[in-house]
Amino acid sequence: MIELKDVHVTFNSGTPLETRALCGVDLKVPEGQFLTVIGSNGAGKSTSLNVMAGLAPVSKGKVIVAGDDVTDWPVHKRSKFLSRVFQDPKMGTCEDLSILENFALAYGRTAHRGFASGVTKEIRDYAASRLEVLGLGLENRLNDKVGLLSGGQRQAVSLLMATTGDTKVLLLDEHTAALDPKTADSILQLSKSIVAEMGLTAVMVTHSMAQALQTGERTVMFHRGKIVFDATGSERDGMQVEDLLALFKQQQGEELADDSLLLS
């Protein structure tokens, strides 16, 4: 469904600050697979997600989505296929618009936007039915501005918006990192159930090794701009954080020096 072919990304090319963020990454995520991506700071995991979304320019290589070469497509054009949940709950929703208008915006991601009323009965019913599942009472606050919601509520709305319409690939960019542990867990469970119910292809970047191993059916690990570990099936089942760290040391010949990863 989504594929990175020999992708290279270099920031500040030709300057003393030149940084090679991705060095020939090959990654193929088949339709319906839930992939988790792990790595320390600067490893390239977020850059790989940004490459998929069209936010990071590719120096070399190709990005393929549903058979189309989208490497040169701008973000808004790719969004017809790819939807995204940001790390910051404020980024995924528009606080100046009502909950309903946010849903109308998401509805138009894969449908035609025209000069008819943006908020229709169809969208109102759709938004209410999806919000009802959250059990937060948001279906009764459809006309409230999103800016009035808490971070957790906004991230839940953001997740529902990202899975509105004919979404093919869902990109989750450390989408629970800015939330308190309890809310983070509920958003993660919600993500899992939505991906499973809708049969979506999903890529989730996370800083938590435990979360990466407990979510989805495949985990890849980035280090210094390359994929150093790709586990799926029986190899991944039952794997613990300690196993992953040992494997990393065995393959790279060094300890993983990232407090945030080790503590999570």
Partner: protein, 302 residues
């Protein structure tokens, strides 16, 4: 103030309400500080006056043509920003100063009098009511129609996309909104409205002048700020209404101040009055309430 002066103030207030609606669209909706209006206001006047006087166009068609030309002036500013990444304020200044020379070329001089020719207001003479009464009524109806069209437009799927493009561009792009295209349309429409205001202003006061754009941006912004200080602007309908009310109140406040002989104010003090008025409006906004109530803002969830 006499009734004549009040109606005159309303007439000017309604014209500048169009500038205020444009400023609302650029500054508040698409978050694009646009200075092109300093050039597009006299551009609208110059195009309308020249088409009416030199080319003997129908004044309604000439006014519409001025609006379209104003749209493209704004479009050019946004294009410089979107396509060539020129800072929005700088792009606006570049187009505005370029328009100064273009306006001189259009009018073949620094001004173009509209004496002894038909204007859009000539058609109103058929109602048998004095111009100083019928003109503000006509302008009020025109502004109301444009306000309602703008309200409707901003509530469509396209309009919601434009609002999102200004409020949260990254999120808008992630929802397949072409943010650059929204800027082109938004700045274009805003300058179309400003050029329309310029065209009407020239026809009301009988001349187009290359210098008539000086301070237009301040008037537009002041109107938006004053309007939103006195009225709640929680919905698009109320916000555009606040812009119109702000434009009228701004003109009224300026007129009253300059008529207040006992304080010793003179016509040359108009900029000082503007500054004080806007400062008061901004301080009122800081206190978090509008004059006629806070509006239904709701309670933030924990």
């Amino acid at each position: 103030m006499s009734l004549y002066e009040i109606l005159g103030t309303l007439e000017t207030g309604f014209i500048f309400a169009l500038v205020a609606l444009g400023a609302y669209l650029t500054f508040k909706i698409i978050d694009f500080p646009d200075l092109t209006v300093e050039g597009s206001f006299p551009l609208g006047a110059a195009v309308a006056a020249t088409l009416i006087v030199v080319f003997e166009w129908n004044p309604i068609l000439a006014t519409l043509a001025a609006t379209v030309v104003g749209f493209f002036a704004g479009y050019l500013t946004a294009y410089l920003n979107v396509q060539f990444k020129i800072l929005h304020i700088l792009a606006g200044i570049l187009v505005a100063i370029g328009l100064y020379s273009i306006n001189l070329r259009i009018m073949a001089g620094p001004n173009k009098p509209l004496l002894g020719v038909d204007t859009v207001f000539t058609y109103l003479e058929g109602f048998g009511v004095a111009g100083y009464i019928i003109n503000p009524i006509f302008l009020g109806i025109l502004v109301l129609i444009i306000k309602l069209v703008m309200d409707k437009l901003l509530s469509t799927g396209w309009g919601i996309s434009m609002r999102a493009a200004g409020a949260n561009p990254a999120m808008a792009e992630a929802n397949s909104v072409n943010v650059g295209q929204m800027k082109l349309w938004g700045v274009g429409i805003a300058n179309g409205l400003t050029a329309l205001a310029g065209a009407l202003f020239a026809q009301v006061f009988g001349a187009a002048d290359a210098y008539m754009g000086i301070g237009v941006i301040i008037v537009g912004l002041a109107s938006v700020i004053v309007g939103m200080s006195i009225l709640p602007s929680t919905t698009i309908f109320l916000a555009t209404l606040a812009c119109i009310a702000g434009a009228i109140l701004y003109r009224l406040a300026v007129a009253v101040s300059l008529n207040a002989d006992f304080i010793g104010l003179q016509a040359s003090d108009v900029q000082l009055v503007t500054a004080v008025l806007v400062a008061i409006a901004l301080i009122a906004q800081q206190s978090g309430s509008s004059f006629f109530g806070k509006g239904k803002k709701g309670k933030k969830s924990d």
